[in-house]
Amino acid sequence: MVFSSLVFLFYFLPITMLIYFVLPDKFRNIFILLTGLFFYAWGEPKYVVIMLISTAIDYTAGLLINKFNDKRNIQTVFLLVSVIMNLSLLGVFKYSSFIITTINSLFGLNITDPQLPLPIGISFYTFQSMSYTIDLYMKKIKVQKNFFSFAAYVTLFPQIVAGPIVRYEDVAREIDCRTISISKVSEGIGKFLKGLAKKVLLANNIGLVWTQVKAMDYGEISAATAWIGILAFTFQIYFDFSGYSDMAIGLGKMLGFNFPINFDHPYLSRSISEFWRRWHITLGSWFREYVYIPLGGNRKGFARTIINLLIVWSLTGLWHGSSWNFMLWGFYFGVLIVIERLGWGKILEKLPKAVSMLYTFILVVLGWVLFDTNTLTDAWHFIGAMFGANGILGDSTALYLLASNAVIFALCIFASTDIFTKFTDKLQQQKPMQLKIAAIAAQLIILVNCTAYLVDASYNPFLYFRF
C-alpha cells in the first residue's frame, strides 16, 4: 500500500488509528506488527514471508549476541550471520540481474537472469534491522527480548517501504514505552498533510513534465527543453521523497514515535558535502556509521580517507538501484566531495552565498541526469543536449512546457526554500494561536485538493519502489 492512495487514506488509516488509540498499551506492539504485515502484504503478498524470515533471524541473532556477552568470537559469528543474511537478501533480490549481466558481458558467458522482482522496501528494512544487530554487537543498545516488540520495529508501517531509515537506537525507548497524546497526534497530522501535499500536488504534477521530456529523442531536443525536463525531475524526486518521509514522520508521531528527520532544504546547500547532510539524512548517517567509520573514516591518513570516501559513495549510489548509472552517480558525488576536502570546500565557503548555492545546485541537477536516464549513453546524450550539442537553444516545445507549468515550477521553487518555514517559525513565536487556526484551514484545503487529485489518479507513480 502507498500513503497517497484512497484505500490507505480513507480506509486503512482511520481504522488502524482508531483501534490503536483505544487498545490497551500492552497490545499495541502486536497490533502494529499485524497492521504492518497487512500493509506490506497489500503490495507484496508473497515476499512478506522474506521480511518475516529476516526479522526472525535478526531477532535470534540479537538474543544470542546478548547471551554470549563475554565470548567476543561467538558474538562476531552471530553478527556475521545477521549481516551476511541481510546482504544476501539484497544481493539476490536487488542485484542478481546486475551482477549476472555484468559477469556475462565481462566473460562472454550466458548465465540466465532469473529476473526476480524487487521486494518493496527491501533496501530499507534490511538496513534497519542490521542496525540492530550491529549496535548490539557494539554494545550501544540493549537487547530486545520480546519478539513482537522487535518485529513491530521492523514492520512499523509508516517507514517500512520508503524510510526514513530508522535505526533501532532511534526508537529503542519508544518501542517499549511511548505516550500518545492529542497534541502529538495533531502535530503528526500537520506533518503528514504537508507530506501528502508535496507528493500529490507538487511531485506528481511536475513529474508529468519530466515524463514528457524523458520520452523525447535526446538527439533532437533543444537545450532549454532538456533543462526544463531535468529541473522538473529535480523537483519531482525531492518532493516525492521528502513528502513520503514527512508522511512517515507524521504517522510515526500519531503512533507515538519520533523518527529522525530525513530532509532539510537540500537545494539550499552551499557544497556537495552539505547537500548530503541535508538529503536523505538517515541514509547518509547509516553509511557513515556502519561503513565509513568502520573502514577507518578519516583517521588512517589522507590516502585512506579518499579511498574510504569513494567506497562509501559508490555504495550509496548502488543502494539506489542496481545499474552502472547509479554506481556512477554515487561515485560522482564521492569525487566531488573529495575535491571539496582537498580545499575547494574552503573556497566555496568564502564565495558569495548565491554563487556557492548555484554551483551546488547545478552539480546536483547534472547528477539527476545520471540517476534517471536509462543508460549511460542516454545520460551522455542528454547532458550534451543540455549544453547545446543539438545546436538548438530553445524552441516552441520549451516555451510550451514552461508556459503551461510556470505556476507549478514557481510553487516548487518556493517550497524548496526555507522562506515559508522561517515565516511560520516567526509566527509561532509571535502569534501561536493564529498560526494554529491558519494551519487547520491549510490542512483542510490540502485534504480537499489531494482527494480531488487521487480520485482522478491518472498519474501517481511511486519512485521508491525500486530502491
Binding site: P14, V185, S186, M433, A452, Y453
Partner: protein, 386 residues
Amino acid sequence: MKKSDKKGSHIIEIISCIIFFGFFIIFALITIFKPKEKFSELENKSLERKPKLSAKTWFDRTYTDKLEKYVADHFSGRVGWLDLKSGIETAVGKKEIGGIYVLKDRLIEKVGEPDYSDVDKSIEAINEFSKENDFPVYMMLVPTSAEFYKDELAYFYPELDQRRFIDYVYSGLDDNISKIDVYDALSSHKNDYVYYRTDHHWTSLGAYYAYAAAGEKMGYVPHELSYYDVEHASDSFKGTFYSKTLNTSVKDDTMDYYHDPDGDKPMTVEVTQVFGSDPEVSDSIYYRDYLDVKDKYASFLGTNAPIVTIRTGNEGGKLLIIKDSYAHCYSQFLTDHYSEITLIDMRYIQISYKKIIDVSDYDDALVLYNVSSFAGDTDLKKLLYS
C-alpha cells in the same frame, strides 16, 4: 504561554484531529453505502466492478489493484472531485489536460506523431483493396479541429502537421485511387461552425463542405447549402473532449440535422452488431433516442457498428464506405445520390470483408477517415485478410 492560550490551543488540536479523521471516515462511509452505478455517462466509461477476494486474486495482486480503481470510480461525489481537479488545473495555467488542449472557446485534441510503419501498412492495404476490386476507389482523409485552431495556443506544443500527413498518405496511394482533398474546403470555413467545440467530430456543416467539395470527383451534383431544412436537434451536446477534461469553460455544442426541404423520405437502415444475428432495422438515419443521453453524436446512425446498410429509396448507384465515425454524420448528405450505402468499420471486423458483403454489388467505394484515427489505425490492414 498564558493559561487561556494553552486551553485554546488544546481545543484547536482536538479540532484538527476531528477534521482529519472525520473527513476520511465520512467519505469512506458514504462511498461504501451509496448505490453503485455501472456506467458513467458523463465520462463515457464503464466503472470498475467490485473485485472478488480469493487466494488467487490476492496473491497476483489483481484484488488490491482493482479495489483501488473500484474505490476511485465509486468515490462519493466523484464528479465533483473531477470538476475540482479540472478547475485547479485550469487555474494554475495548465494548457493540456488528459491529451486535450483547452483553448479560449474550444477544446482540441493533441495529435502526436504517428507510427509510420503502421501508416504505411494502412496505405498498402488500401492499394491492395483497390487492385482487388473493379469499382473505383475514393479516399477522403479529413483533418481534425486541432489542425485549424492549434495556432490559438500561444506556445504550441509540436503537433502533427496534418497537411503534410495527408500529402504523405495521398502520395503513397496508387494513381487509380481518386484522392478527395477536403482540407481547403474546411480551412476556408474555419470561422464557421465546422467542428464541435467539445467533441472530436466534425459538425454537419463541416461534413456538408466536404460533401460539396467531393461532388465533382465522385460524380454527383451537390445541393446548395440553402437547399436544406436545418433542424437544431440539440443545443446541449457535451462531447468526448468534455468527457476527458470535464472543462466547463467551453460552451455546449449544437447538433444540426440537414433534412430534405420536403421532408426526409422513408429509408431502411439496417445495423448489424453481431454477424449472423438479425440486424436492427429503423426507418431513419437519425437515432433520436441518443439525443437524450450524453453521447449525442451517436444519433447519426447509432454507435459504431461493424456494418450498417442504408437503403435510401433514391435512384443511383451503390456505395461502399470503409470508415470511422466521421462517416456517420457525412452519410446524411449522400443519401440523395445513392440507392444504397453500406458502411463497414474495420475496427469491429475480424474476418475478410468479402465474407461479409458481396463486393460485386457495389459501384463505388469510399475510404473515409479523419487524420487522427487514420494516424493511429492498426485495423485497415485487415482489408488484406482473405
